[in-house]
Every structure is written in C-alpha cells, then in structure tokens.
Symmetry: C2
Subunit: 190 residues, 2 copies
Amino acid sequence: MSLRNILLGMLSQPASGYDLKQSFGESLGHFWDAELSQIYPTLKRLEDDGLLRSKREPSEKGPERKVYRRTAAGTRGLKAWLAAGAERSGERLTWLAQVWFLGQQGDLGVALSFFERLRDSFAADLAGLRAIEERMREEEPGYPDALPDEMFFPHLTLDLGLHKLAAKVAWCERCVVRIEARMAAATASA
Amino acid sequence: MSLRNILLGMLSQPASGYDLKQSFGESLGHFWDAELSQIYPTLKRLEDDGLLRSKREPSEKGPERKVYRRTAAGTRGLKAWLAAGAERSGERLTWLAQVWFLGQQGDLGVALSFFERLRDSFAADLAGLRAIEERMREEEPGYPDALPDEMFFPHLTLDLGLHKLAAKVAWCERCVVRIEARMAAATASA
DNA sequence: ACGTTCATGTAAGCAGTTACATGATTGT
DNA sequence: ACAATCATGTAACTGCTTACATGAACGT
C-alpha cells in the first residue's frame, strides 16, 4: 500500500520505472527500497486507477522508455495520504530481538562481539550520513533553514537519521562497557 | 525467517502457541509481533525440522494444549543465529517517507500538525516505556546491572527504546519550531 | 442459554524478493 | 564478438495479515 504513495510522491517530475529505481538508491533508499519487479506492476496499477498516466518515449541510450506523469487525481491522492497523518505501522527490528535473547547464548564474549560489530555498522552508516550533510552544507545555498520546501523536508529526515544513529552508536558503546563489567564480575567471583 | 529464530528464543521455557502469542504482547511486542495464524504453522515447521518437539497436554481451563519444547538442535540453532551477528535487514519507515514528501503538500499547516501529532504519538510510547522501567526499578532486585543475563539483555532493549523515543520527541519538537519559523517568514514576505 | 476466554488450526490474499526472459544501444 | 548499461516485464516463492472454522471449559 505504501509503495503506491511513495511512487506518487517521487513523481513530482516525470520519470520511468527505471529512473525511480535509481532515485531510491541515492536518497529515499535510507528508509525505503523497492525492486524493479515490484515497481513496474505498481506503476501499472496506479495508471489503471487514474493516478498516473504514461507515454512511451525514445531513450537517448537503450530501448524505448515508458515515462509516467502524475495526474490531478494522483496529486490529490498524495496530499490526502500526507494530510491523514503519520503511518507508524509496526517496525520489525530483528537485531533488537537478537539482543533480547543474547543472554541465552551462554558466552558473554559472543554478546560483546555482537555489540562491537553492531556499533561499527552503525558508525559506518553515521559517517555516510555525515558526508551527505557536509556536501549539502557546502553545495546548497541557504542550507538548512532557507532551503525550498522540496529540499527542506528531506533534510529533516537526514537530521533525524543523524541523531538516531548517534544515539545507537552511544548505546552500543555503553552496552560494550556494561558487558565487559559483567565479564569482569564473573571472573572475579569464580 | 526471523520468526523461526524468535520463537526458538522464546522457548527457553516450554510453551504452547497460544502462550507465545501472549508473551509477544507483554514484552517483545515493542519491536516484533506475530499472529497466531503465523505462529502455529511456524512451530509445526520447526518441529518437522527437529528444532522443537511437542507434547499434547490437558489444559487447566479450556481444550487440550500443544506444548513445545526446544531440542538440543534447537538450542544450537538459536546460538548460531546470535553468534552470526546482528541482522540489520532494511527498515521500512513509512512515516519518514511521508516527511520526505511533506513539501509537496503545499500547506505548511498540514506539515505542522503532522509533526505535532507524531510528537504526541512518540511521547505516549515514551511514557509507556518509562512506566515499564519504573516498575522494573522498583520490583526487580539488582536493577539494572546486577540482573541475571536473561533479564539484563531485555533491559538493554528497553534502554535503547527510551533513548530513541526521547530523540524522536525532541526532533519532532525542533521540526515544529522550524516549520513555525518558515510560516512566519512566508507571511512576512507576502 | 449465552458470552468470554482458551485453544488450534486452514484459506485467501497482499507485499515483497529472487530468479528468469527479452531485447536495444554503447563501449572495448 | 562480448560485456555493460539501459529498459521492461513475468513467474515462483516467502512472509505476513485478515478472515474464517471449530470446539472445550467457565462464569452469569
């Protein structure tokens, strides 16, 4: 259901399915991704429902493209989705479930390495986002608060990503320290 | 794939499918949930694969129960899952995608109310987690660092939830302020 | 008798992934 | 000639949700 609305949102400019897949990677991809095999049928259904309309156009390189444009009904649909408020449907965080059960592993060393690797993974993501932010700060005039709306709201998602990842790295770090303390306590009492 | 491992983790004590569904609600439910219609066939497959074994037992109230126990192979499987490191498979955060497109709504008032409602929703969740933490702090001796492993690691997930939600509430609050500033700037220039 | 909780399942359908099929154009 | 990129799709499968079917025990 959500992919429909996301594609609708991405089509503020005309684009083909292939184009849309590319834009996922660059930007939105941080919190949503979709495969071409899912994008194509979804675009078709949106057209059947009158929210998009397509035109075949020759490509500059490669075969013919099918370029989609949002209709007035499509824009209304997008606005309605946004006006209805945030869709906070259940997150499924596998790695947190793993943390929950980590005590059953038996070996605190495994738990320790789990958190060290998780921290590194979050830290790498954080470095990636920081690089994006620096580029924005240098290249985009008026960054961040004088950006036009269509860049300001994406910036807000970047801002949250930065804070969330920093919180996660700090949490992993605290977990490492606390587990080390438990390991020390265990050997001391033995 | 993950539900298999999660059920395996939950079965440190023998339990029926019905029992497991109840425990989701109380604890793990904050970052994972599953329906009975998914739990029953998954338990059956785990038994077919030799990771669980079941015994029919009379219930104290109601019909006969099917109680599952983890086999040695099941425990090995769980440990292997945990030792393999964190599974950070792609989050899909619909509400963040909505924020991304909020600039296309046209009406900054809609964006403002979007963030106000989102902030309230996060704040309510945060209050819920804080209540759980206070109860733990009062009722569990040694909370948090002297808890036994099987309670310490769940506590870590609570700790992260607290920090993440606090960060989200603060972010929403900053978004509200910044959007109000944009609205003021727009009316001033008009 | 009737509703609630306890208890286990099946069936239909949707969302998403992986694998496969097809073919044009460009660069080496 | 061959690989890479461009471009659009279909098919099979997995994970999960919603709806349905069945029935025992308990309280009122």
